[in-house]
Structures are given as C-alpha cells and as structure tokens.
C-alpha cells in the first residue's frame, strides 16, 4: 500500500469508529426483529435497512472528520488542485473503514443465521445486493465531508445528521426506489433482489458521490467528468423512478411431499413442515367432511401459482399464528392469483368473501361446529375463475 494511503487510513476517524458502526448495524438488525434469521436472503436484505440509521451516523462522522482536518489543510501548503486529492483521500479512508465495519456486521449476521440453522449460503444476487447500501453510505459520507469542509463549524455535525435522517426517512415514506436498498417486514421466500435495480442504484450513488466531491471545485460544472457523472445520475434516476419493486420472483430450492395437497416448502422451511402440516391436515379433513375438496398444491414458490395452487404466506409465523398461516395458504388456493392481482372492486369483494369464510371455517373446525360453505362463497370462488 502506498504510504499516503496507509497514513490516511491510519489517522482516519473511521478507524476508531469501526466498533460504533458495527454496533449500530447489529443493533438495527437484532433490536427490530430476529424473524428473518432462518431465511438467508431475508436476513441479508433486512440487514441493509441499517443504512437508515447508519446514514446519519456516517454523515456526522464524515462531517466531524472534515472539521478536524480543515484547519490543518492550509498548513500543508499543497497546490490548489491538491485540495481535491486531500479531500478525496480523507473521504475514501473514512468510507473504507465504514464499509469494512458494515461488512463485518453482515458477516456476523450471516454467521448467526447459519447457527440458527439456515441451510443456504449467500447466492450471487445476495452479494450483488450488498453494493447499493455501500454506495449509499459512501454518498452520505461525501455529503457530510463536503458540508464540514465547506463550513467547519461543530454545529453542522448534528444538523447534517438530522438532515440525512430526515431525507432518508422522507424518501422511504414516499417509496422512492433509490433509497430502498434493504429492509423487509415479511418473508422474502421465493423473492430475490433485482440485479438491474441494484446496478442502477449503485450507478446513481457512485455518480452522485463523485458530483458531491466535485462541489469543492469552483469550476465543477464545466469539467467533462462532472458532466458525464451528472448524465449518469439523471439516467439512473429516471430508471429508478419507474421501479415499483426492488424484488422479483426467483426460483426456489423446493422440497415437495404429500398429495391433495402436495406441500412444497423451501429447504429453509423444511424443518417446520410438521408444524405446518398438523393444523393444515386437521382443517382439510374438516373441510372434506362438509364437501369442500382440498387444494391440489400449497407452495412457497411465487412463480408456480395457478388454479388449485395456494401460496403459503408467512410460514415463519406458524408457531405464533398457525391459524393465520393455514387459512392464508388455503384461501390463496381458492382465490388463486386474485389475492394479489384483483383489479376491480367486485373482484376484491369476492376475495374477501372467500377469505372471511375460510378464516371462520378454521375457527369452527377447531370447535367441531364446521358447516359447508354458503352459496355466496361457492359462487364467489366460481366467479374468481377469471383471475385464477
């Protein structure tokens, strides 16, 4: 490593801040929920939600670092264009430590997930999805650094932290795709991060970071590299503006067994099969007694849905809410894709009629007072044929 780089890394504020960054990232994961731990993609994607809290922390650190360095710069007597190299090196050193700490936290979370028993290892797409959050952290570090460099006052540090938090939160609330680099409140089984969105986010963050650091130059707007970066940012931004989901259905490593219904679970959920099948079988037996035929298949694969096939939602909640999971899967088999694809108010009404009856039937089957479906339910199921 070249001596200036090594020196910059050694004296960077990022180095003593490594434990803080790791602690914030891990606290953000473990204090919110440990639900994802059995599902590797969910675990890794949810870990990236740490950027919401780490963003302000990193921006504040970078601002602090700039304020620390700003008084020393005039004494270095570097040429005018040396300011860019000085700032770039200091920013890069801080960002390198932050990224290293972030990745250490991720390794810890993945290790805990493995101890928890998840059978998978990270796939290529899981690794690709790491790039956008790192890009976001690099960008907020650049913003904090430039703010502190331009205005070396301690007051700027908390304000840049608060401002970063407000912007990130605001962007999340209006569902802007550029900020959605992670975080999921429900299982991602059968889903994977979209590589094209991840690439666009990475390009947007890289271009924006470059532009922010360029702001230090008086002639930033006239340099070809700045113009190219601005074009890249605009193109990536326009692409991201049209993105409604950062995730897409993905092939699953399924294990299927049984008949009527055949139950297909991801290998990650295989240990929970018996917990799911026990209440399911009891419920389906009850339904058969009152003349309702069981679904052909219940599955966690999102790309294998059709007539008689039900998607099993939120299997991770089977211990807390077996009724909710079982009725969700059976309802989905009756309404098919209409559960998520219903477009008209009439279709939605029919979906609710079916779902309400299945939930009522489950509770009655537990009490032994299950009766056959009323005509309205039979008719609703028949009418939903169009979107099944």
């Amino acid at each position: 490593m070249r001596p200036p780089v090594r020196l910059a890394l050694q004296r960077s504020l990022g180095k003593p801040a490594v434990p803080l960054v790791i602690a914030v990232a891990l606290a953000n994961f473990f204090l919110r929920t440990t639900d994802p731990l059995h599902e590797l993609t969910w675990t890794m994607y949810d870990y990236h939600f740490a950027t919401v809290l780490l963003g302000p922390v990193v921006a504040a650190l970078a601002c602090w670092e700039a304020i620390r360095l700003a008084p020393a710069f005039p004494m270095l007597e570097v040429p005018r264009d040396g300011e860019h190299r000085f700032v770039g090196l200091a920013w890069a050193s801080l960002t390198a430590w932050v990224i290293a700490a972030y990745l250490v936290g991720l390794v810890v979370v993945v290790a805990v997930a493995k101890l928890y028993g998840t059978p998978r290892w990270p796939a290529l797409v899981d690794l690709v999805a790491i790039v956008p959050p790192l890009g976001m952290l690099a960008l907020v570090a650049a913003i904090g650094f430039v703010a502190g460099w331009r205005r070396p006052s301690w007051f700027v540090v908390p304000m840049i932290a608060g401002g970063t938090f407000a912007v990130v939160i605001g962007a999340y609330m209006v569902q802007m795709a550029f900020v959605r680099v992670g975080g999921a409140t429900a299982s991602l089984v059968g889903l994977a991060p979209r590589p094209d969105v991840a690439a666009a986010q990475a390009i947007l963050y890289a271009g924006s970071t470059y532009l922010v650091i360029e702001l230090l130059s008086r002639d930033a707007g006239r340099r070809p590299a700045s113009v190219a970066a601005a074009i890249v940012v605009v193109v990536a931004g326009v692409f991201l503006a049209g993105v409604d989901s950062t995730l897409e259905p993905a092939a699953l490593d399924l294990v299927c067994s049984g008949r009527d219904p055949e139950v297909c679970l991801s290998v990650e959920y295989e240990p929970w099969r018996s917990q799911f099948e026990a209440p399911l079988d009891r419920f389906l037996e009850g339904l058969e007694h009152v003349g309702v035929a069981p679904p052909a298949r219940l599955t966690q694969a999102r790309d294998d849905l059709g007539p008689g096939v039900g998607f099993i939602p939120a299997l991770y909640r089977i211990e807390d809410d077996p009724g909710g999971v079982v009725t969700g899967a059976v309802s989905n088999a009756f309404v098919g894709r209409c559960a998520s694809a219903a477009r008209t108010p009439e279709e939605l009404d029919r979906v609710f009629i079916v779902v309400d009856w299945v939930e009522t039937a489950y509770h009655r089957s537990v009490n032994g007072r299950l009766q056959g479906p009323p005509d309205a339910v039979v008719q609703a199921i028949a009418e939903l044929e169009s979107c099944r």
Partner: protein, 192 residues
C-alpha cells in the same frame, strides 16, 4: 445591560437557536401525526415528540464553550452563566411545548425536551464537543426506528421518547436525566 445580553446572545448563538426553533415549530404544523415508521408495515407511530431534538441540539452546541479557558478564567461567575444557559435551553423547550399546534401534546414535547437536554448537558461535560449534540439527534432517530413495535403494541420499554402521555417511567426517566445532566454541567463550574 442590553449590550451585555447582546454579547451573551451572540456568544451562545441564540439567534441561530431561535431559527432552528422556528424550523421545528413549522415542522410540527406540517408533520401531522400519526406518521408511518419505515420498515414496519401497518405500524403507525408518532414523530412529533422527537422534533424537539432540533432546537435542543442547537442550544446545546454552545454548552461546550464553557470548557474553553477564556470562560473558565473569567472573573464573572461561570456557575451563573452555566445556570443561565440551562435556563435558556429550558425556555426554548418550553416555548416549543407551549406554542405547539393543538394536535401535539405539549407535555410529551416538554418531557422529551428535558430528557434530551439533560443527556446533552451530561455529554457536554464528559465527551468531546460534537458528541452531545449528535446524540441528541441520533437517539430519537434510533428510538423511533428500533423502539416501535407491531400494530397496536406499545413501544419498547427503553424507547423513552416514544412513550405516551401517561407513562410514569418515561416522566421519571426524563426528570432524572435532566436533573443529572444539569447538575453535572453546572456543578463542574469551579473544578480545577
């Protein structure tokens, strides 16, 4: 006398603190509760009790000045100036709590302001300069993101700033932290 007050106000950047107070006050009018917490589907939680962090952080920025030699070596009482600074922060919090729009609870604003100010004063004594003000901003953010729970559930016990009006433990925590912070800040005035 007026010139003395002007000098103090300039030294403590009172004008800037009032500007941030106005910003927070404006935010309260636009941030209609409840506000969704990102990353928590179907959960609504309030953000407005946390807005008070902004003027508190602005006021606390000048709390660290009292560690400078020029302040310590002054013939005028450092203790009195520190007490005046604490009163100024209390006034800022009080102003926000009293003039907040009807939809917000002034009591919670005052409680959270007291908690954050106490924490900030404590850190102004024991930590490097920006740490107190950063903590005052980031702690509410962390409590909001990490301390809120599922639909209809109360916030985590440690998320003091998110507790409702009737929370005795949150009020006690605010009084204790505010008292401890102010006492530590003022009590270290004549320390060698």
């Amino acid at each position: 006398m007026i010139r003395d007050l002007v000098l103090l106000a300039r030294r403590w950047r009172v004008g800037r603190t009032l500007a941030v107070l106005a910003l927070a006050w404006t935010a309260l009018w636009f941030l209609e509760p409840p506000l969704r917490v990102p990353g928590r589907e179907h959960v609504v939680a309030v953000v407005w009790p946390l807005v008070v962090a902004l003027p508190v952080a602005a006021s606390l920025d000048s709390a660290s000045l009292f560690a400078e030699p020029i302040e310590i070596l002054a013939r005028r009482s450092l203790l009195l100036r520190k007490v005046a600074h604490v009163l100024l922060t209390a006034l800022v919090v009080g102003l926000l709590a009293v003039t907040a729009p009807g939809a917000t609870d002034g009591g919670i604003l005052a409680r959270n302001g007291a908690f954050l100010a106490g924490l900030g004063y404590l850190l102004a004594v024991v930590a490097p300069r920006p740490v107190g003000a950063i903590a005052v901003i980031l702690l509410p953010a962390a409590m909001w993101i990490l301390g809120s729970r599922g639909p209809g559930l109360p916030p985590a016990w440690w998320a003091v700033l998110l507790q409702g009006t009737g929370s005795r433990s949150a009020s006690v925590a605010a009084v204790v932290v505010a008292g401890l912070g102010a006492a530590t800040f003022v009590g270290t005035a004549e320390r060698p």
